[in-house]
Amino acid sequence: MIPASFDYVRPSSIAEAVQAVGSAGEDAKVLAGGQSLLPVLRLRMSYPDTLIDLGGIAELRGVREDADAIVIGSMTTHDEVTRHPLIKQYAPLLAQATETVGDRQVRHLGTFGGSLSHADPAGDLPTVALTLDAQLHVEGPNGSRVIAAKDFFLDYLTTALEPGEILTAIRIPKLGEGWSSHYEKFNRVAQAWSIVSVAAVVRRDNGAIAESKIGLTNMGSTPLRASAVEGALVGAVVSPEAIGEASSHAAEGTNAPSDLSGRADYRNHLAKVLTKRAVLAAAHR
């Protein structure tokens, strides 16, 4: 299918982009890598009259170090994320999860910012952002603001971005000494979306888990933190039994969907199994 016709704008700075979004009005859409937006347009499930392509804005791209954090431009592609040394060093969870996104073609076009803005609960990167306590930098008609990942994902395909706002950068605290991470993805074929996935970031102390952050993909209408597991893991010995016990809380407070790739009870079960695996793998890194 061919999308309905639209106007196309390609600004070259953030300021120009904000301006362009503002003047295009209600029916404008920001275009990043197009890996989610273009299918929507081609299936004619959306009819924006203007597309504002962020592809020409150099300042939205790249990764830099900023004190105790790394800052990733929203237009940094998945492929760049998987290969960037700063990300490998300070946010290996993000590199690992991003490598599972789609296929090579998708990763060369799709962007980190686009993935977060799209906010598909089956997407892997919103979970990573939530688990790593990312800060999302936003620029809009009323200036800039920072939104914590936990406040960003509101519902299925819905974020805290106000009309006219653009996600510009994602700030991720560096993973501290003693921390390690793992992303356990469960899908049916290599290019498929997660049925359920689990992000685990843990700090070990003396053979036990001292602290952890556990994120769940596709267990509700937004990415979720498995806070019951995080609580239960405190002090848990790194053994299959103890971790398994703590992981049995993984489905608490979730609202898993039922669809072609799994009914809710199966997802609840998977969440527990995969949490155990993710935590054990993280703890053994």
């Binding site: 061919i2 290019q191 498929a192 669809d259 799994g262 199966y266």
Partner: protein, 833 residues
């Protein structure tokens, strides 16, 4: 591993004779132009003044069309015309069904554009004609249609029940036909009822062949140019010749005024063995407007409108003696035709009728098939067409019988299969298998797999209650290839023959053109035919051009499907080459001043027996024939020849496929650890091409076992409407296959070949499912419905003990004809984007 060599491996064979091309792993001639895009896909075609079509499709599974208002669409910019079924009601005819399997088969008719009623989601209801494709698609939403919804008819058993809603108002039931074969009546074995009644052991099972989507790489595309009283059609089809004849009959243009061209075609797998509504619509519109038109479908349209495959409920009864000797096989199928009968829809399950008994010796056999109408996309040929379904059922139930008798499943097979010294062997379904050696293929496969070590590992994992269990699955299969002996097709009520044609032209410069009636669409015909002709005529591989896929330049043929191209079309090439040599011999004899009978022909040279120095090459003869200055009296100045070959029998490739699979009992995921196949496809023309066919076939067969399923919701919407939900595995999801061969040359054709296009697909599905079930048998699981998704496996494990009780024998979580995914997971709306 296959060695690849672009050149012939040696200038001459070991015995000093001429080098042979057949058997070389030549890289495919056609790949360079396909890969670099120097090629013609139908959608690349542009003709002067060409208009573009967009087709409006039914959003309803079953509804009456009460009103169509196209006035707004007609006024849209760039729109030239809008047509509905009413506009073509008198001229469009019906999509032809060439296989009325029984005399009383009900065919309710199949308009290309729905006129008064739609019977499946995706059915064409209107066509927009515009100056460009975007304008045509923009106008689709401006067509206003009122539907009066009718109840969807989705479940085959419900569709056959008394008082069921009818799919078609002009029928009295949803049954199209019942086709029966019974060995007592046919004289090919004992009466089935006697054997069933006397059985020591009886096992009944129900298997579900889920609906599949052929998923060829290139979506279907058609261009039509009106020419004089007729037209030329370029179409992404497997069957240009059948299409030409059928189009002539359907739209009423004399056959000699219709030319059909299948340019490069990006795969078909049976999905382009069809006369499609879209092709007919293009022809109708082009003729009505006197303009060239093009239509190319989107993937979304393709998955809901191009025909689907499989979709059967199989009730299988097998009887045996307590010692494991099988005695009777009783098969009852419900075959989902979908909403309409297309080209060979009713015949597809019937093609399986001769294969359920497979390689085993039964005393009696019965096959009954009911063709059923539902409000789903029509079904038709898909790689294997009837034979994968049959092979699955017999190989699955042999494993179940082994479990029932507490026998080793391979021992059970050995006890019952046709031993190699028994060939030729006429089976209980009346087929005569010419050659084969099941023992040899099986022994080779077992050692390649390392069966004994894996069995030991399985025992260890079972004993230690390892969360990852190991399963071993067997499929010792055969199939019938080379569709088909015309007489057999006639006996099966097919309306055409199964012969194939080839012609060879030797040009003035000694170059050779081979014209073939089979229409390759990815198989490598150009390479394989060049290898055959290089040996037959002794000319270089590079000097041969293969011409196909155009009813004007390759006028006679029956096209490519059913693993027939080499076994029927390749033999026609050999026969044509033999005629060329005989014609050339007479002229060479004249040039050498010898008697034709005194000439040897080898390596492209005619030489006088006993004096090899005294010779003329076939190129010399061709030039002499071209100048025609000095030919013997009464000899025509041509060595060109053609031949039409009708096989006397099918060919029967066979093989042993073994699968070792790891099943994660915590998540339910099944992961193939090792896959071995030893195929016996007779002689091999090009091992590289064979390897490609086997790999692709395995991928598709494994896909049925583990990944693919077309699912409809309760309203009859196809919920697996994109590749987000219809999961086609890629190389990343498949193991590295271990392939090998044994060779029992076919005795029914001069090349000794058997066909390989469908073998991998037919054999692999049961090997994989048997492996999954084998892994889980200690958990009380005795079946998993395909595809064996992690969720289904997990559920089977959770419910295993209960499900394995005899009363529940049959499929786990069986959902009948699956109005929803049979797990009830019908909640999916749309997909991920």
């Amino acid at each position: 591993m296959t060695a690849v060599d672009d050149r012939a491996t040696a200038a001459s064979s070991a015995d000093g004779g001429p080098r042979m091309e057949v058997g070389n792993a030549r890289r495919r001639k056609e790949d360079a132009h396909l890969l670099t895009g120097r090629t013609t896909w139908t959608d690349n075609m542009t003709l002067p003044g060409m208009l573009h079509l967009a087709i409006l499709r039914s959003p309803m599974a079953h509804a009456k069309i009460t009103r169509i208002d196209a006035s707004e669409a007609k006024s849209r910019p760039g729109v030239i015309a809008v047509f509905t079924g009413q506009d073509f009601a008198e001229t469009q005819g019906d999509i032809p069904c060439a296989w009325p399997v029984t005399a009383d088969m009900v065919n309710p008719g199949h308009p290309s554009l729905a006129v008064t009623q739609v019977n499946h989601v995706g059915e064409a209801v209107a066509v927009i004609v515009a100056r460009d494709k975007a304008a045509a698609q923009d106008a689709l939403e401006a067509v206003d249609i009122d539907y009066e919804q009718l109840p969807a008819v989705l479940d085959m058993e419900a569709a056959l029940a008394e008082g069921a809603d009818l799919v078609h108002p002009n029928t009295t039931s949803n049954k199209s036909y019942t086709w029966v074969f019974e060995s007592g009546a046919a004289g090919t074995g004992q009466p089935i009822d006697d054997v069933l009644n006397a059985a020591e052991v009886t096992l009944k099972r129900r298997f579900i062949q889920q609906r599949l989507i052929p998923a060829f790489m290139e979506p279907r595309s058609t261009v039509v140019q009106p020419v004089g009283e007729g037209f030329t059609m370029w179409s992404s089809t497997q069957v240009p010749h059948i299409l030409r004849t059928m189009l002539a009959l359907t739209v009423g243009v004399p056959e000699h005024k219709v030319r059909v061209i299948a340019p490069d075609v990006g795969g078909g797998f049976g999905g382009k063995l069809q006369v499609t509504p879209e092709e007919v619509i293009c022809a109708l519109v082009a003729r009505k407007l006197g303009k060239s038109v093009k239509y190319t479908e989107s993937r979304s349209e393709s998955v809901m409108s191009a025909h689907h495959g499989r979709d059967q409920i199989q009730d299988i009864t097998i009887t045996a003696r307590r010692d494991g000797t099988v005695t009777g096989l009783d098969v009852h199928l419900l075959a989902n035709m979908g909403a309409y009968l297309r080209l060979v829809s009713p015949g597809i399950p019937v093609l399986g009728a001769f294969m359920f008994n497979s390689i085993y010796k039964f005393d009696a056999y019965r096959f009954t098939c009911d063709g059923v109408f539902t409000t789903k996309t029509p079904t038709d040929a898909y790689r294997g067409a009837g034979r994968p379904e049959a092979t699955f059922a017999i190989e699955r139930i042999m494993d179940e019988l082994a479990a029932e008798l507490d026998m080793d499943p391979m021992e059970l097979r050995r006890k019952n299969w046709i031993r190699h010294e028994e060939f030729p062997f006429t089976t209980v379904s009346g087929m005569t298998y010419d050659s084969g050696n099941y023992e040899a293929a099986t022994d080779k496969a077992l050692s390649l797999l390392g069966w004994d070590e894996l069995i030991a590992e399985q025992a260890r994992r079972r004993a230690s209650k390892d969360p990852v269990q190991l399963g071993l699955g067997i499929s010792t299969f055969t199939e019938m290839c080379g569709l088909a002996p015309s007489r057999v097709l006639g006996a099966l009520s097919y309306v055409a023959g199964g012969w194939e044609n080839a012609a060879i032209r030797v040009l003035a410069t000694g170059k050779v053109e081979v014209i073939t009636g089979v229409s390759g669409h990815g198989q490598g015909h150009e390479t394989a035919w060049s290898q055959i002709v290089a040996d037959q005529l002794g000319v270089p591989f590079e000097d041969i051009e293969v011409i196909h896929g155009d009813t004007q330049s390759a006028p006679k043929g029956m096209d490519t499907y059913g693993s027939r191209s080499l076994v029927v079309g390749g033999i026609a090439v050999v026969k044509a080459a033999e005629k060329v040599v005989e014609k050339a011999r007479a002229i060479a004899a004249h040039m050498l001043e010898a008697n034709p009978d005194d000439l040897d022909f080898a390596g492209g040279n005619f030489s006088v027996k006993g004096s090899p120095g005294n010779s003329k090459s076939i190129q010399d003869v061709a030039f002499a024939t071209f100048t025609a200055h000095d030919l013997p009296d009464g000899i025509e100045p041509s060595i060109d020849s053609d031949a039409t070959f009708d096989p006397a029998n099918f060919s029967f490739p066979h093989g042993t496929h073994l699968c070792a699979i790891e099943v994660d009992t915590e998540t339910g995921r099944a992961t193939i650890r090792k896959y071995v196949c030893v195929d016996d496809i007779g002689e091999v023309i090009n091992p590289l091409i064979v390897e490609g066919q086997v790999h692709g076939g395995l991928a598709q067969g494994i896909a049925q076992a583990l990944y693919e399923e077309a699912v409809y919701d309760a309203e009859g919407n196809l919920t697996t409407g994109s590749f987000v939900d219809y999961l086609v595995p890629s190389a990343a999801d498949l193991p590295s296959f271990i392939t090998d061969r044994t060779v029992s040359a076919s005795t029914t054709n001069p090349l000794g070949v058997k066909g390989v296009g469908e073998a991998g697909t037919i054999a692999s599905t049961p090997a994989v499912v048997n492996a999954v079930v084998n892994a889980l048998r200690p958990y009380g699981v005795n079946d998993i419905q395909m595809p064996c998704t992690p969720e289904r496996i997990w559920r089977a494990l959770s419910e295993g003990a209960e499900k394995s009780s005899p009363a529940a024998a049959g499929t786990v979580a069986h959902g009948g004809a699956s109005t929803s995914s049979s797990d009830g997971s019908d909640a999916a709306e749309g997909g991920r984007l």
